[in-house]
């Protein structure tokens, strides 16, 4: 189990458990094959440039964020619920406790969701989020990022993480990004600009592939229909 605390990220001091998690022999129970049922989602919920629209287009740089969900063996994870949330182009969240002095965009909510397709692929259309300051230390800035929440098959395929943007100058100063201590693992969180998948005359494409654990670290049943 990876570390749950990182001293440079201050609030982990009071919230991260101090004791090691109990490692179980024999697994959790027969929920290993748990296949959560999600409601049908509106197609527009994967397009953040329209799902918060009130009277016009949101401001900012339109981007496509897409990728594939796979397990450790490289097999696609279809049917997973992917939920995202982010700041707007000015670095402001809709959240009511957010006090950063940057404008809200009346046409941008910043939340989206979709279900991964049969080949594990997903695709969002959104606005590139801005960087914003936070109170961890003097002159602390979060790099631009998109939060991801993923629920695949079984408890082992729950993942909450953040996607970052290539070339962001604030990445090297961010204790949250750097809370993943191994640089080669941490860099999996940086999306990749793809000229091949960039839509001409319309939007840049950022690729963010996501690798989930197997359900309880065991292979899926061959031929089992997860779709």
């Amino acid at each position: 189990m990876p570390e749950t605390a990182f001293s440079d990220y201050k609030s982990t001091a009071t919230r991260a458990p101090s004791l090691e998690p109990v490692k179980l022999e024999g697994g959790w129970d027969n929920s290993a094959s748990l296949r959560p049922v999600w409601p049908d989602l509106a197609k527009r919920d994967a397009d953040l440039t329209i799902n918060g629209r009130v009277n016009g287009d949101p401001i900012g740089e339109r981007i496509v964020v897409e990728g594939r969900l796979t397990d450790e063996a490289g097999r696609p994870v279809p049917g997973a619920l992917i939920e995202i949330w982010q700041a707007n182009a000015a670095g402001r969240y809709v959240h009511r406790e957010e006090m950063h002095a940057a404008p809200l965009d009346p046409n941008f909510l910043g939340a989206g969701r979709c279900i991964s397709a049969a080949d594990g692929s997903y695709r969002f259309i959104t606005i590139k989020p801005g960087s914003y300051p936070w109170g961890n230390h003097r002159n602390a800035w979060r790099p631009a990022h998109i939060h991801f929440s993923i629920f695949g098959a079984g408890l082992a395929q729950r993942l909450v993480t953040q996607m970052y943007f290539p070339g962001d100058p604030t990445l090297r100063y961010d204790p949250i990004f750097n809370a993943t201590r191994d640089a080669r693992i941490r860099n999996r969180l940086i999306s990749r600009f793809s000229i091949e998948d960039t839509v001409p005359n319309w939007a840049h494409c950022l690729k963010f592939d996501i690798c989930l654990a197997g359900a309880y670290g065991t292979p899926f049943e061959e031929g089992h229909d997860h779709g």
């Binding site: 440079d8 982990t12 998690p21 027969n30 003097r138 690798c211």
Partner: protein, 220 residues
């Protein structure tokens, strides 16, 4: 920048500045293939993950009431608080529950009774100064394995946690002596996994992130 305090992150005594982590990277470091690491859920999840109870204009897809009219079983309510090291109630935690139905069966496909076995609740729906509890209405699960006691799985995450944590809630009226998971928990800590009676059909399950009664979390 007094408004920054509202994030709950500012340490008033901290005059320290920016830390540059790049000394650890000798030149360009590529990503290695493998599992995508976890990062904190942060403080601003509500309009994406739990929009309904917080009043955001985004349709809710996760319920805190799992016990629709057609779902068979004993109606129960689970209520609790999340406490940090200092005993402060955490107002920005996400609690998810996963459970079997009253017969001990997990959901693998959409069902006629609408039971999903999954619920999600944020602790700050009433505002960060309110009583920041989580609450679910559901049915009591049946035992999902022979010899095991019934339980509800809880997935716990919040600002200030790098990974989500997984625990389970047992019921005080059940025989836990032969449960294969309880047996692997140090005896002195088992009590943190057992809900307290809080009236007919009502259970209290508090989650303590640190302290003498730190909740047991599991590594799957």
């Amino acid at each position: 920048m007094a408004d920054m305090r509202d994030f709950g992150e500012m340490d008033a005594d901290d005059k320290g500045g920016v830390h540059d982590y790049s000394y650890e990277d000798t030149g360009a470091v590529d990503a290695s293939p493998g599992l995508t690491p976890s990062q904190t859920v942060g403080p601003f999840f509500a309009y994406g993950l739990t929009p309904g109870p917080y009043g955001y204009a985004f349709p809710e897809i996760h319920k805190t009431d799992l016990a629709g009219a057609d779902v068979a079983g004993e109606r129960i309510e689970i209520i609790g608080h999340v406490f940090d090291r200092d005993g402060v109630r955490v107002h920005d935690a996400v609690i998810e529950i996963v459970q079997a139905d009253a017969s001990g069966t997990y959901v693998h496909a959409p069902r006629n009774d609408g039971f999903t076995g999954f619920g999600r609740c944020g602790t700050g729906a009433q505002g960060k100064d309110a009583d920041t509890h989580f609450k679910f209405r559901t049915v009591k699960p049946g035992a999902s394995q022979r010899g095991a006691a019934p339980f509800v799985t809880l997935i716990v995450t919040m600002r200030g946690l790098l990974n989500h944590m997984i625990t389970r809630m047992y019921f005080p009226e059940d025989d836990l002596a032969r449960d294969p998971v309880i047996a692997q928990v140090p005896e002195t800590r088992r009590g943190t996994l057992v809900a307290k009676n809080a009236g007919p059909g009502r259970y209290r399950f508090d989650i303590r992130m640190q302290g003498p009664e730190e909740t047991v979390f599991f590594d799957l």
